[in-house]
Symmetry: C2
Subunit: 336 residues, 2 copies
DNA sequence: TTGTATGCGTTATCAG
DNA sequence: CTGATAACGCATACAA
């Protein structure tokens, strides 16, 4: 329904020069251009309200200065914070960002991968669901720039920006133990997809326990869908020997736990101590203030964007090691 | 750095037909096409791993099946929720979404408007900063599809999806009064840009007070930058006649208030009652649970997307009234 | 039923 | 210093 359509040709006509000259002008190649010509072109551009058509340019130059971001599940704070960082960096480089939410569904993920590829985005950052390995592998072979965030896919040597997840759990468990807690639980969202962060967090949890001479109690380890948390916690707390502390594997898990606690009038940390992985907005002013393990989300997003942008611009990074691990930090507050 | 570049021409060669035939096949126009031809084309596509180039198609068809969303400030929950709804709807219609954060800066907003336009997105949804009226006006004249969300710009008759802001405040004030509070404050983020929601919320607040025979106390009305909240609240509470209830004008304001309250050991609702406009994630399990005024964010995002998509597809909506106001709801919990 | 020719708006090459 | 002309990959009348 748009009415206008002023092109480079119109500008050319209006300013009595050829299209090529206008193009040169537009691309700042006016080294050998007459002052008067420049002025005429500029005037025509103003008068006609000319705007270059980036689609045409993209077709010609085979670059859209746009990247795609496919996030497994946008409901996590982690995702939104990393995305924000990616957008910031891209903005600095004059790149645009199309973000897609795969909703933890490999099918959706695949659709988006192909869509973005077809749209000729210059590269993609993926928070992988764990599926679509072949597709991704093929794209890698075709030299299509890809960077992973949050999750590793063992079979692929694609640059990946992740947290040191084992350390995250270790920090938490260590802190619990220092504060005198021995019966420690870990609760995380469903593990069906067998994703690295969840696995690594549980592994780190177990190791830390063992290193402190505490036996792992499998009853204290819960991986549940969000709507199962209620019964899961209930179950655990009804054990003859219930846990005294819970490590929430991510923000969504933490929220479910807090809901349960609120509903059942449990008190923190008297009845149950709590540490959550991920920075939730309300940690610092919740009652009580929540001890958390924080991820350097901005740094991670920045790294991912830079890796991708470098790849796109042909500045290959020395990829001896394609895994970039970031350090979590414990922020001590009042819930443990 | 990509290696591949298989085009429609390659497929045509490989399957011994012309480009047009392949094109027809791709666009499902195989009514009059020989079975055998179809098979050959399909095979060639598979073998070569052909992927249509959407950029080329967009250039030809003058449609990118992409829309832009420019949000004034992405830090508000309201924004993120509305964006999510917009993306959902667009996804249904097979449209893509590029979202840009203007950061409450009209300059940035302008840059994005022009960028998106140049990128030939089929339309834009804007949470306007209040600047760039001329630019927007010009685009409207050029029949470029635009929809506003959250904020109205009085001079422009562009379809706008907004909350009934006066009613939001009215609901809150009414509730305070029913619960026996008379000294009621409203705190909102800076009003320098003179934006409609903030103005309307304050107006609604004043009206509700007056309708209940309560005098408006200008000392109880604060519009501050986020980092000024501390001193602002302090100031108010040191009045000889301090307020007993605060209405937080949006989520960010609410958070600042809660931070202050936490730091100063004020208790809710004993010392001060609280209602917040916007649904914050933690309202239902904060201690105490927070009474809020909720906006139908999903509905609003959906409406905005549909208005835009309709416009893009030429299905003009009957625009007798171009303002779509949505109803807020009070969710009663324990902070008042 | 399929092929040919042309154009979408830009950039790049190479003469002039 | 400037201007033809040919791509880029696809879609679409119009022919055949």
């Amino acid at each position: 329904m748009k009415t206008k359509a002023v092109t480079i040709a119109d500008v050319a006509k209006h300013s009595q020069v050829s299209k090529s000259t206008v193009s040169q002008y537009l691309n700042q190649r006016y080294e050998y251009m007459g002052e008067e010509t420049k002025a005429r072109i500029e005037e025509a551009i103003q008068q006609l309200g000319y705007r270059p058509n980036i689609v045409a340019r993209s077709l010609k130059q085979k670059s859209t200065t746009t990247i795609g971001v496919i996030v497994a599940n946008i409901l996590h704070v982690f995702s939104t914070q990393v995305i924000r960082a990616i957008e910031d960096i891209c903005h600095e480089y004059d790149f645009h960002t199309i973000v897609c939410n795969a909703d933890d569904d490999p099918k959706k993920e695949k659709k988006y991968i192909e869509m973005l590829h077809a749209k000729q985005v210059d590269g993609i950052i993926v928070f992988p669901t764990g599926g679509n390995i072949e597709t991704l592998q093929q794209m890698q072979k075709d030299n299509y720039p890809i960077v992973f965030v949050d999750r590793l896919i063992p079979d692929l040597t694609i640059p990946s920006v992740v947290l040191d997840n084992e350390k995250a759990s270790t920090l938490a468990v260590q802190h619990f133990i220092e504060r005198g807690y021995q019966k420690i639980s870990i609760m995380t969202t469903s593990i069906i997809h067998n994703l690295t962060p969840r696995r690594e967090r549980i592994r780190g949890y177990k190791q830390a326990l063992q290193e402190n001479g505490i036996n792992v109690n499998e009853n204290y380890i819960k991986s549940l869908e969000l709507d199962q948390f209620d019964v899961g916690i209930e179950e655990m707390l009804s054990l003859q020997d219930p846990p005294e502390a819970i490590l929430a594997g991510n923000d969504l898990a933490l929220i479910e736990i807090l809901k349960f606690i609120k509903k059942n009038n449990v008190s923190i940390p008297e009845n149950i101590a709590l540490i959550g992985i991920d920075d939730v907005s309300f940690a610092s002013f919740y009652n009580p203030r929540l001890t958390t393990i924080s991820q350097p989300t901005f740094e991670m997003g920045k790294k991912a964007a830079e890796l991708l942008l470098n790849k796109i611009q042909g500045k290959e990074n020395e990829d001896d090691n394609h895994i970039y691990r970031f350090e979590p930090t414990l922020i001590e507050r009042d819930s443990c």
